[in-house]
């Protein structure tokens, strides 16, 4: 059954998590993600799930990892300073291949910044906040509906790839109210993690791979699961062997990078073969689309690419869709973190114009419009 409701972005994420099957939430309230914690405290008991308010964010993500290892779909929600505290254990979840979802509602930073204000400046922090060559998936919603849909997708991807998935929301999207079509569990395609079925004796938790992802038991099952953040062998026992280390770290990347077509693809709006293309994500993509529609109604040839998967960066798609443009405007409320990715894709810097804002306010359609008109003149 599909229900229509008027919800905020934060509420939509929470309902989506419940409907995706999440039954464990551990978190520490932090502006502007607090409403997710509050709503979880109400809903989890109703759905026979568990809600724990932890002592801090380090403990929150640790509890989520523990719950997931025990077989539950588990998640947490936080913002910049909390994300920083979670970084070590996000790396642990990537290394130990523990499915989990982290909703990061971006606020103005660095550090504690302005707790209540907007930013999109965690693009690199979510990718590289944790040390080491780890891989993970990051999705960025641009509407309340998207907050719902991509949260469901985040759980599916975390189970499918056995990896942390971060939903990159922001303070503006988290609190705006919009109509949402809530598809309930019966109408959602939900991925259930694979379980080992062979003999218990000799079971190697990291030994049976399906599309480079290990088929692992739950902690406490009869198939013994050994868990560590150290480099480990197929048995789960730690190792300092250089060949094992290289194979493991490269597989962790390969298991996601080689299957990028399964991740949410960018949306492309406006004119194909456009001279001007705007690349954006999150709520800035909404401002960008309004501006692109306006200039196209005035005879421009502009297109707009909305990134939905931020990490791994969809290099192939971006190159395919943007290579014909004379100029690419990268609209983001940070110093140019996505623009750097386009440079790494091979786009010459002089072809890229950053439309950036760092004053804790949302980028508006008229600001994007002005930049588009300047480029076309």
């Amino acid at each position: 059954m599909t229900i229509k409701k008027l919800l905020t972005g934060n509420d939509a994420c929470t309902y989506a998590a419940i409907n995706a099957g999440a039954r464990f939430f551990a978190g520490y309230p932090i502006t502007p993600a607090t409403e997710i914690v509050e709503l979880c405290s109400e809903l989890m008991p109703v759905y026979n799930g568990n809600f724990i308010q932890m002592e801090d964010e380090i403990a929150s993500i640790a509890a989520v990892i523990g719950a997931s290892l025990g077989g539950a779909k588990a998640f947490t929600a936080t913002s910049g300073p909390g994300l920083a505290l979670m970084s070590e254990n996000i790396g642990f979840a990537a290394m130990a291949e523990v499915p989990c979802v982290i909703i990061n509602v971006q606020r103005y930073g660095p550090s504690t910044g302005i707790a209540t204000k907007f930013s999109q400046s965690d693009v690199m922090a979510v990718r590289w906040g944790s040390p080491g060559d780890h891989s993970l998936i990051v999705l960025a919603p641009s509407s309340v509906q998207d907050s719902y849909d991509l949260t469901v997708e985040a759980f599916n991807l975390s189970e499918r790839f056995r990896t942390p998935v971060i939903l990159l929301s922001d303070a503006a999207l988290a609190h705006v109210r919009e109509k949402v079509e809530i598809r309930e569990p019966g109408e959602l395609n939900l991925y259930q993690r694979e379980k080992p079925s062979g003999p218990v004796n000799g079971y190697l938790p990291y030994g049976t791979l399906h599309n480079n992802v290990p088929v692992m038991s739950n902690f406490g099952d009869e198939h013994i699961l050994r868990v560590t953040g150290l480099v480990h062998q197929e048995s789960g026992y730690s190792s300092d062997n250089s060949q094992i280390a290289e194979e493991l770290v490269q597989r962790l990347a390969r298991k996601i990078d080689n299957y990028q077509e399964e991740l949410p693809a960018p949306f492309f709006y406006g004119r194909q073969a456009a001279d001007l293309i705007v690349v954006s994500f999150g709520i800035s993509a909404r401002a960008s689309l309004e501006a692109v529609n306006t200039v196209n109604s005035e005879g421009f040839k502009a297109g707009m690419l909305e990134l939905r998967t931020i990490w791994p960066f969809p290099r192939k798609k971006v190159k395919e869709l943007c290579s014909g443009a004379k100029k690419i405007l990268v609209v983001e409320a940070n110093h140019g973190q996505v623009r750097e990715q386009l440079i790494s894709c091979g786009f010459p810097p002089e072809k890229l114009r950053g439309v950036n804002k760092q004053n804790a306010e949302v980028i508006t359609p008229s600001e994007v419009l002005l930049a588009l008109k300047e480029e076309n003149s």
Binding site: T116, V176, R177, K179, I283
Partner: protein, 184 residues
């Protein structure tokens, strides 16, 4: 034909800006419109300048926040400083509704069509200043917003169940009455 209405309610935190915005959005949603509602988040909502923006549209809403309102409701003087660039312009197209007792427009500085009402005092008579926005909702519903008053009443009732709801609905109905003679 007009198909999108962008309204901002601006006043002091505690006058019910956020709640009124939410009620308006709920009523628009009941009536089948697309809607997007935003509000001040942070210290402003607790006594300082507080705002709520509501977009109601029969079309898809691309950008959910309001850059320039079609209608601005001001319930405190501090709001004039914030909205000066819009209200001082000769060609902004924004209509101003203000509280005539507590937020009279600064003389000679407002070029928008302006309409004053007894909003806060009316709310105090019936319930408290916290219901000022319910009076404002009545005025908006009568003059501006394409919403059926029964939908707004229902949204108020669902937000404030019981006796408080009835008092808030009375404030809303007083707002409807106040606006009877103001054809915009």
């Amino acid at each position: 034909m007009k198909n999108t209405w962008r309204t901002i309610l601006s006043g002091s935190g505690g006058q019910g800006m956020g709640m009124a915005g939410k009620i308006l959005a709920e009523a628009a949603f009941m009536q089948g419109f697309n809607t997007a509602q935003s509000q001040t988040y942070g210290a402003g909502a607790r006594g300082d300048l507080s705002q709520s923006g509501i977009i109601i549209s029969s079309e898809d809403i691309l950008f959910p926040l309001i850059e320039k309102p079609d209608l601005l409701v001001i319930l405190n003087n501090k709001s004039y400083g914030h909205f000066a660039p819009i209200l001082n312009s000769n060609c902004n197209g924004t209509i101003l509704i203000y509280d005539q007792d507590y937020a009279p427009p600064p003389k000679g500085k407002i070029n928008s069509p302006s309409f004053g009402f007894t909003v806060v005092n009316k709310a105090r008579e019936i319930l408290s200043e916290k219901a000022a926005c319910m009076v404002a909702l009545g005025i908006l519903t009568r003059l501006w917003i394409p919403l059926d008053k029964t939908n707004v009443s229902q949204a108020i009732q669902e937000t404030f169940p019981g006796k408080t709801g009835l008092q808030n609905i009375k404030c809303f109905e007083e707002g409807l009455k106040l606006a009877e003679n103001y054809p915009l």
